[in-house]
Amino acid sequence: MDPELIKDCVHCGFCLPTCPTYLLWGEEMDSPRGRIHLMAQHVEGTPVTDEMAGHFDACLGCMACVTACPSGVRYDRLIEETRAVVEREHVRAPEDRAIRGLVFALFPYRRRLRAMRLPMRLATRMRPFLDRVHPSLGAMAELVPPPARPVRLPPRVHALGRRRATVGMLTGCVQSQFFPRVNAATARVLAMEGCDVMIPPRQGCCGALSLHSGRDARRFAKRTIAMFERAGVDTVVVNVAGCGSSMKEYAEVLRDEPEWAERAEALRVRDLAEYLVELGPVARRHPLPVSVAYHDACHLAHAQGVRSQPRELLRGIPGLELREISESAICCGSAGTYNLFQPGPARELGDRKAGHVMATGAEVLVSANPGCSMQIAAAVRRSGKGEMRVAHTAEVLDASLRGLGARALGRA
């Protein structure tokens, strides 16, 4: 925890109303300002107590506070450093350790993830039992969407019409397993907008899960950089908010290895929406008469500052009505692995978000992060209001560009 970064905080409190846990509990130590205070206490010599670790663990890492901070406090870096300290210095309760071990042994590895699909389906039925064993297991079972038919993407998708660019594409661990159609849609949209899309096979985890939980992500980062270098692209388009935000941090993650940091700098990482707006539309948009509520994924809106671009793309679709969700800056509670490690508050935040989403009356929920979609869909289901149709920005664009109509959007 860098004391200089801590000192940047002037204690103004502007972060408080944007912090999900402060909204839930109204406690100073569960606000960014309070957590920075705790970090300062640690720097001054207070050991990491159970209480302290609990307040750090409760942080979703949504980074809404970073957006809100007028003093430019790098809370994102502070909390990542802090999580590393907690991992190093704090001994967790045995069952917590087991759960964390399970998640980190599973999620970043797509083959293991694939292998888990069947057991997880069974787990859905066993939820009440799992809930009793450990709430995290219950949460996992609740969130998992029905297994999807795998979609195999070719290593190269050629541009339709005149080629305007060549880009690499990250497929993401959770995305490729549970939402493979999003990847297919992303590749198609890019191609229809005139891009050659390079999709290196056997992509590993980009390191996001580790990075956001205070674990060493350097191995994942180097592997990903090398992979796209081999593919011969200098621009990587990412359709998962969490992955995009960590890839944009590679140079920071690898700062102790200047050669790697330089290679990281050379790789241009863009969120899909961000990239498409930069590129400018050429493909024809067919009408899509549907009302959608756009959800700002924290790792897109706060970590990457991408707010206007997805909206601009959606508004560009004839017939589509875009509705705003109130409290849009507040996290849905998914937050990477948060809903697995902190199922209680994650559920409360999910319910809160689901309420706001349903209040829009929109037919389809659109977001750019699979975790958010799973989280909000689960909360809607819990409320007994049936299944919420969810779609990725890429799928909506895909449907419009291909003239598919709105019926299929967000249906399993």
Binding site: K7, D8, V10, H11, C12, G13, F14, L16, P17, Y22, W25, G26, E27, E28, M29, G34, H37, L38, Q41, T46, T49, E51, M52, H55, C69, P70, S71, G72
Partner: protein
Amino acid sequence: MTDAVLTRLAGLFGELLPADAVITDPVRLRTYDCDGLTYHRATPGIVVLPDTAEQIAAVVRLCDEYGVPFVARGSGTGLSGGALPRTDGVLIVTSRMRRILEIDLQNRRAVVEPGVTNLAITEAVRDQGYYYAPDPSSQQICSIGGNVAENSGGAHCLKYGFTVNHILGLEIVTPDGEIVELSADDPGYDLLGAFIGSEGTLGIATKITVRLSRAPEAVTTLLAAFTGIEAGGQAVSAIIAAGIVPAAIEMMDALAIEAAEAAVNCAYPQGAGAVLIVELDGPHAEVGHQFAEVERICRESGAFEIRVAASAEERAAIWKGRKSAFAAVGRISPAYIVQDGVVPRTALPEVLAGIDRLQEEYGIRVANVFHAGDGNLHPLVLFDDAVPGQGERAEAVSGRILDLCIEHGGSITGEHGVGVDKSRYMPKMFTEEDLDTMQLVRCAFDPRGLSNPGKVFPTPRLCGEVPGVRKGVHPLVESGRAEQF
């Protein structure tokens, strides 16, 4: 106060409040050691997070019974240390009391709990064309309870007044734990007026009835750039002399602009030595007329660029720089003091020149952000705490600025409050008799001096028994730490 008493109190609170609403863990307690003014810190003995007025009353009654001081805190954004805790006392935090209880548009009023944020009220009624007028810069987080304690203003109070002009009723817990309703409609002393702005020394507001205002038909925001602060000041005087009362007139000097640019890229005109933000609101016809006047005046006073916000987004962009200015200064200086003083508007040029002289004399930079319409200065005194002696020099400059304000017939605080930070300046602004008379109000509400003691007034004072004869000598008096009053 002994630890034993606090331990006992914590146990009793545990019987009244949910387990997670009583904080005694030292690491957690320390996160409450200051409000928005980090210069003063004290770790509270106990923190409670009550949910209802009855819980607050019960906590206060126990404090009264055990003679333990208590301090109320909302969002902890105050800039005068008004919510600085007592190590020997209880900090009562209202951040969980954030329900909007009633919205009555027909009567233009809303009833809210003290932890509701200022902006949340406006957000709740905005779609219906209403808003809550006082708008301190921290409005997205500062609590309405804190606003009541501090009588908060904001950029728009030039035209619309302060918190005290927009509160129609309060439910308060008195320092002896009674729940009392005060209403603007009731005959009798204006206790509402006395309570608002008393900085938590007369009790704790637990329910607040606010006046809602009709959103104006038209709002025009104009940004005028000047080469220097003098020209901007001239424009302000001329606008007022023309009989125009804008909703807000704000000014920032070059250094403040630099900070805001660094923080939020507000893109104010290049080369501006000062910017003036003028906001006019009201009926279309009136605003149109006044706008032409203001624009003419700004040009005549030497504005080299004038921008007019054409949409709500553009207005927000103009305000963004101003509203973020305090915290933004953190980008251009390792440390700084936010000062808050007021001078009669006509004395602004002299006082600003005086601040310039102080900068030179002490070798300390001062960024000026101010509510020019009502002479409320917010000099930001910049320093580097790593440089030995700079902190002290900055402190000295900050104090001298207040002296300047007092010399020119102004006030030591326009909106941040006296708190713990400025109590020592109170005797410069008021006589002993003035302070003694204010103390009479304190004694009426809080004879034992348990409600936020050590704030506002320079010396701890005790209230004599009234009526009747004083009994013995209080230990504080005997030891010379307090004056009998």
